[in-house]
Symmetry: C2
Subunit: 355 residues, 2 copies
């Protein structure tokens, strides 16, 4: 949950100004963009505020004895439940693993709470739970706590899964937006937007020339390789809802940094680019579920990139921008045509129910 | 999640035999009784099985350094969202606190994942989140991680909240059904069934002579007082979905114990008894959200009861039965008329969406 970069005017094309005040929830409140940030700032934070939650990190950290313990939660409401490259079960596992991973954590265990709609086929539930197990095994972690609730037909949409995760914080690394410095490099671990396009294609029954497959994957092993490889890694985030543009905005806001992203440097698969053109989407705002954005010291960028590229999940890692200066938080995009414009939070939901 | 006492024939009055095989989810799969146990045994455990989950405790325990760490999750889908004595917000906090408490844990932090239906009034969300904060403050713990998702109108029922919790296991106490011995006493911390009747009354717009108020409350402080008071406490459970009858069945099954409950010993408020008669419910199966069942050594029962009664949440604690012998797991009820009959798991949902 975060709130970023609200003070800059939105370019008319991408970001119409939000309506002055909502009295009821709209889909955009779940989109990860400006409306989500508004809801967090206006409803959740005033009531729930405490020093740990206020950090708005992907994982909360508490200290037990000498070790930091990470704790994170995510509800998954993706529609449809299955899509090329995954399903709600593997997504729920990987999504929570990744919130621990980008905090530098070693996953200890997951919980899963199922909300089922009356009439949901048990055979389908079985497949989804098996998919969770497979993803959990791949991440080397167990689902150690669970709960099941059922609501009447028409009161849910088949199946929602909320996963929470606990993990051990890395012993030595100090990760967080507070570590970001002027001159730092912005890296992304691979092609962006695959997950969002895969889900949209499945939802709309669209067929493109090539099938786009979700990038859903657990990132803790890639992160461990990056940390082992050395170099000053300042901060990491997984660009899910709202994509790379949103997490870079969140980091800029948290750090008080001006960040410049090079549009041509961001790796985008041909199939994703083609689908985005047809759907009218900007890949920078489309969700990934197996990628991370890392901010690293400029002098160490090549070393960290090399460590990422030696790992299968980071083979196509790229440098996509840098921290121009500290001060006023904002994100700029140098477009393919060389123009520089603001890269804002989206006002609403670009893609609802993508995770 | 548990499965208990399946080998005994069900008395025709209370427990019709379950249909041979469900191919789709029915409301009873969420009721906490036999169908829930079936779903856990047939779908969830085969896929997710691991040594920690297999214990089917209210909280999972992992070890970090020298300390045990407790981890638990629950989805809340209660309908209506508000009821006498509480709302989904306070219920979600107290329910998760209590899963940690009955494991002897000291709560460290909670997470909350919100699934909102498009159109849900933000003013109502604000009240519920404030109620969560109040309950969390009362329990001395913070909501330190959160997430929000939104689904389209008609794809959820206003608001669902999944809370997870982490806590430190008690340093010395050894709690669990494996500690149960023949001769142990079964205690309950107060009147039963208040929560379930309060929610049913609100849902159905029923008016009884006295308003029944939910017992929803955080139990960790009562548990701490019990542990401080000394005496061999074997095991505790909070009797939520399925009530006292269900948790006693789960304990009997886990421990391999025959347990006898005295119907006349179970404290039931007049208002709850009257409402149960009108609604055709047995208070032993009606959910509490601020009570616990404790199994303690017979010789220490009075001492533990005295410790409970010194605490406001245990003022009406009673001994309601005992462990007859170890061996075949079963639960017997001595009725008000002196007859002894089996006290079974319910086949389906007595009260859907009670938590």
């Amino acid at each position: 949950m975060s709130d970023a970069n609200r003070n800059r005017p939105a370019p008319a094309s991408a970001c119409p100004p939000p309506s002055p005040k909502h009295s009821a929830i709209v889909l955009g409140h779940g989109g990860g963009g400006r409306l989500t940030a508004d809801l967090v700032r206006e409803v959740f934070m005033p009531a729930l505020s405490n020093p740990i939650l206020d950090r708005l990190n992907d994982s909360a950290e508490v200290t037990i004895g000498a070790r930091g313990l990470l704790f994170t939660t995510d509800a998954f409401v993706v529609s449809p439940l299955r899509f090329p490259g995954g399903d709600i079960g593997s997504l729920a596992v990987n999504g929570t693993i990744n919130d621990l991973a980008v905090a530098g954590g070693e996953p200890l265990g997951l919980s899963a709470a199922f909300i089922l709609e009356e009439g949901f086929p048990i055979a389908e539930l079985r497949l989804i739970v098996q998919s969770m197990r497979k993803a959990a095994d791949q991440a080397g972690v167990g689902v150690i706590a669970a709960d099941t609730k059922v609501v009447e037909r028409g009161k849910a949409d088949g199946l929602f899964i909320t996963t929470s995760g606990i993990g051990l914080a890395a012993a030595e690394s100090q990760l967080g937006p507070g570590e970001i410095r002027a001159g730092d490099a912005v890296l992304v671990s691979g092609p962006i937007g695959d997950h969002g396009v895969a889900v949209m294609s499945a939802r709309e029954g669209l067929e493109f020339e090539t099938t786009v497959v979700s990038d859903s994957a657990p990132l803790h092993d890639l992160v461990a390789a990056m940390l082992r490889g050395g170099g000053a890694i300042r901060c990491m985030r997984d660009p899910t809802r709202g994509g790379v543009a949103t997490v870079v905005n969140e980091l800029a806001k948290s750090a008080g940094a001006e960040i410049l992203i090079e549009e041509t440097a961001a790796p985008v698969r041909d199939g994703v680019r083609a689908a985005c053109e047809i759907l009218g989407l900007d890949p920078l705002y489309v969700a990934c579920e197996g990628r991370l954005v890392a901010i690293v010291a400029d002098a160490d960028a090549d070393r960290v990139l090399a460590a990422m590229r030696r790992h299968p999940l980071g083979a196509d890692a790229r440098r996509i921008g840098g921290v121009v200066r500290m001060g006023t938080p904002r994100v700029l995009l140098r477009t393919a045509f060389g123009a520089v414009r603001a890269l804002e939070l989206l006002a609403g939901a670009q893609l609802p129910r993508i995770c």
